[in-house]
């Protein structure tokens, strides 16, 4: 949902429910893997009303994930666009994020995007041709969370989202 879809031309009215706000925040995408929302990723832990303030709680994927600041800014902008909704963003480290928190929807979107979703490394399938047992080229790929593999069938290299 965009701010424009909210009742009252983006102004917060009493009909902007907590579910609307959660939906708005949940639509924020990961800046490095823009097919995934922070909800798909499991980075979004909760959206709660505390007094009159929306409290958004997020958990970083990796300690040094440079996307976290961007995600915070994007959440803030989404809430501001929806009518300057009073909010604060809290980062919680415990329990630590794991790839198990990526939703089924997230797995599907990753595969469609050409990134093998997180599974045990021996169960990885090529996202192009579904051939099993690709070869690992490098443990570390274009972002901290990915490794680089090459398909033994079609020969295409691809990113694998490491199980973590």
């Amino acid at each position: 949902m965009d701010a424009a879809d909210l009742p009252g031309d983006g102004m917060v009215t009493t009909t902007t429910t907590q579910a609307d706000i959660r939906h708005l925040v949940a639509m924020v995408v990961d800046p490095e893997i823009p097919v995934l929302t922070i909800d798909d990723l499991g980075v979004l832990r909760s959206v709660e009303m505390v007094d009159e303030t929306v409290v958004v709680t997020i958990t970083p994927t990796y300690s040094g994930c440079p996307a976290m600041k961007q995600i915070e800014d994007d959440i803030s902008s989404a809430l501001d666009r929806a009518g300057h909704i009073e909010h604060r963003i809290e980062t919680v480290f415990s329990p630590a994020w794991t790839t198990d928190w990526i939703t089924e929807e997230g797995h599907r979107k990753l595969a469609d995007f050409g990134i093998a979703p997180p599974t045990p490394v021996e169960a990885v399938l090529c996202p192009q041709c579904s051939e099993a047992q690709p070869r690992m080229i490098a443990q570390f790929g274009s972002t901290a969370c990915k490794a680089l593999m090459v398909c033994s069938g079609c020969g295409e290299p691809f990113d694998y989202f490491k199980q973590h």
């Binding site: 994930c65 480290f93 415990s94 080229i137 901290a144």
Partner: protein, 240 residues
């Protein structure tokens, strides 16, 4: 040498933060200069992991201190005498073997440190440690793999790895000061197994150098801080 006059809780968290911050900076120096693209990316990844840990711990340290200092103040506006990292992590990168040996020695320590801190009463420290624990696992896999490859590789790689061990060994005793004493046995065992498999040996020279935990550093830290801090000192108030 006098111990620093500083709150022990603040000091403890700063020491862990500084280990990771300084090591992150050293690893970052490899970016664009590593022997292969994959190694370049791997070392950059490790730098980011250590930097992330450092940021969270520095932020927490600032809260414990209660003087209003944030992560930027603590990282960028302390002098060398106010840093409490291990001497090992500030040692220059040297050749690839030196950097890998340094990383391996630290990884063997952090593999034990993080599970311990994950049980800390401080929820922030516990959360950061739980995260860092998983990262230390793959740092170790990488550095351990290279120890075996260098030790059992060519005469050249073996000599370089052994030279790096001989150079850096004197900074390892410091790891086990204070609360860390319990890690020594398992650390020795991890090191011994890997060195054994790689045909490398533990130096016989017992000389050990310490001082990092009380702010007495080798000359290298000052140069590192000069480079790391110049931007913040030139443009005060800049944020990451």
């Amino acid at each position: 040498m006098p111990a620093p006059d500083i709150d022990p809780d603040f000091h403890k968290i700063l020491a862990h933060a500084d280990d990771n911050l300084i090591l992150a900076h050293r690893l970052g120096e490899w970016i664009s200069k590593a022997p292969e693209l994959e190694i370049d990316i791997a070392l950059g990844n490790f730098a980011l992991d250590h930097l992330g840990v450092a940021r969270s711990l520095l932020h927490r340290a600032g809260e414990i201190e209660g003087e209003g200092r944030g992560e930027d103040d603590l990282a960028m506006l302390r002098t060398d005498r106010e840093f409490f990292n291990l001497l090992l992590v500030e040692q220059p990168n040297g050749d690839f073997a030196h950097s890998i040996v340094r990383q391996f020695l630290v990884d063997c320590y952090q593999l034990q440190l993080w599970p311990d801190l994950a049980a800390s009463e401080d929820v922030v420290v516990a959360g950061v440690a739980a995260k860092a624990m998983k990262e230390a696992d793959y740092h170790y896999r990488f550095s351990h793999g290279w120890m075996l490859r260098m030790g059992g590789g060519t005469d050249e790689s073996h000599t370089r790895a052994q030279t790096a061990i001989d150079d850096l060994w004197r900074f390892t005793g410091e790891i086990f000061e204070g609360d860390n004493a319990d890690y020594r046995t398992e650390w020795d065992q991890l090191i011994g197994e890997t060195f054994g498999e790689a045909g490398l040996s533990v130096p016989e020279d017992p000389y050990q150098k310490a001082g990092g935990r009380i702010g007495y550093h080798t000359e290298h830290l000052g140069y590192l801080l000069t480079e790391m801090q110049w931007m913040q000192r030139t443009y005060p108030g800049m944020e990451w």
